[in-house]
Amino acid sequence: MFIRIDLSSFIPIYEQIKREIKRRIRLRILEPGQSLPSIRELAEDLLINPNTVARAYRELEREGAITTRKGKGCFVADDALASLGCVPDESTAASFDQAIAEAKKSGLGDNEIRALFEARLRNAGTAAENGNG
């Protein structure tokens, strides 16, 4: 993964890394759950001190942007966007609440609600594709 580091900047390198990774998460260049290069790989790619990478990752983890899974490596956190403040707005949540309440009133169980949601989501995606062309 290439990140441009400005050595002469007043921003410490670890900070530069953090910012760049966050930026990419926000821009969905990095998806939640996507694996990140190991500390070693990134250090070797960028030719910087692994401690610097380690610090960046540590702080990113603390800030909830990434998670480390033991033995598996580092990944973008599932709720990274939320942690980063990219939460969906209130109205969308409220709509969901309403829909769920109505579905339950119709006598649908959780699984059915979930299946319905998935189907509608799929449908919306295909329609988006077909519609937008």
Binding site: I5, L7, S8, F10, P12, I39, R40, A43, E44, L46, L47, I48, N49, P50, N51, T52
Partner: protein, 236 residues
């Protein structure tokens, strides 16, 4: 974070000129330490004294908490040393040199040595005298790494080498750091490379340490743009 190396009140003269005077230095474990100084400032002398190649006139040295005299040599088992001019026996083959070294170090890792040879594309049967400077440097690093040191001392090993080789060298160092967390003391005046990995900066000037501290903080405190700038600000 412990201290891996501590030096107090070190003096060294050559003839009538006092090269190091009353020098104090402490190296924190696990970090990359940069040793900067002008040519002739005494960096190599300091390193040679640490390595016990030449004796000091006055002062004390502790390695991992143990006091070290000129006669002690056991502590060198835990130090990997890559000098500026790799001093090797031209007549030997690379394999012979590794075999020779393997008998010196208690934690010698032959597998790691093999990996290094492969990664650096060095042949076991090559005669050292026929190797280029870059190959010798890599060999020096291989020897230093295979001994599994706690402290790695590099005395301007990359000067005179081309950029790709220097990059390779740096990459290998970084790999080492990532894996083992070895303490590194890197003496050089090619600050651009050091820039990327240094954590603590020690600047030798006038036989003394004119500056010693965390790079990030120093940069901020002195308003330096980069390592070179910091250096110039300190020695000015």
């Amino acid at each position: 974070m412990g201290e891996i190396l501590r030096i107090e009140r070190l003096d060294k003269s050559f003839g009538r000129s006092m090269v190091l005077r009353n020098l104090d230095l402490t190296l924190e474990q696990g970090k990359v330490h940069g040793l900067l100084g002008r040519n002739g400032a005494g960096k190599t002398t300091l390193i040679r004294i640490i390595m016990g190649i030449i004796p000091r006139d006055e002062g004390s040295l502790w390695f991992n908490g143990h006091a070290i005299t000129y006669r002690d040599t056991a502590y060198k088992n835990d130090i990997g040393y890559v000098p500026e001019d790799p001093f090797f026996y031209d007549e030997m083959t690379i394999g012979d040199l590794l075999k020779l070294n393997s008998s010196f170090y208690s934690r010698w890792d032959a597998r790691k040595a093999e990996e290094c040879l492969d990664r650096f594309a060095l042949g076991r049967k090559s005669r050292i005298g026929n190797c280029s400077r870059g190959m010798k440097l890599k060999l020096g690093l291989a020897v230093a790494l295979a001994s599994n040191p706690e402290l790695l001392i590099l005395d301007d090993p990359t000067s005179g080498l081309d950029i790709p080789t220097r990059r390779d060298f740096l990459r290998d160092l970084i790999g080492r750091l990532a894996e083992e967390g070895t303490t590194i003391l890197f003496s050089t005046h090619l600050v651009h490379e050091l820039e990327r990995i240094v954590e603590s900066v020690h600047i030798l000037h006038g036989g003394r340490l004119a500056f010693s501290g965390d790079y990030g903080e120093a940069k901020r405190a002195r308003g330096a743009a980069d390592l070179e700038d910091l250096f110039l600000r300190v020695v000015a």
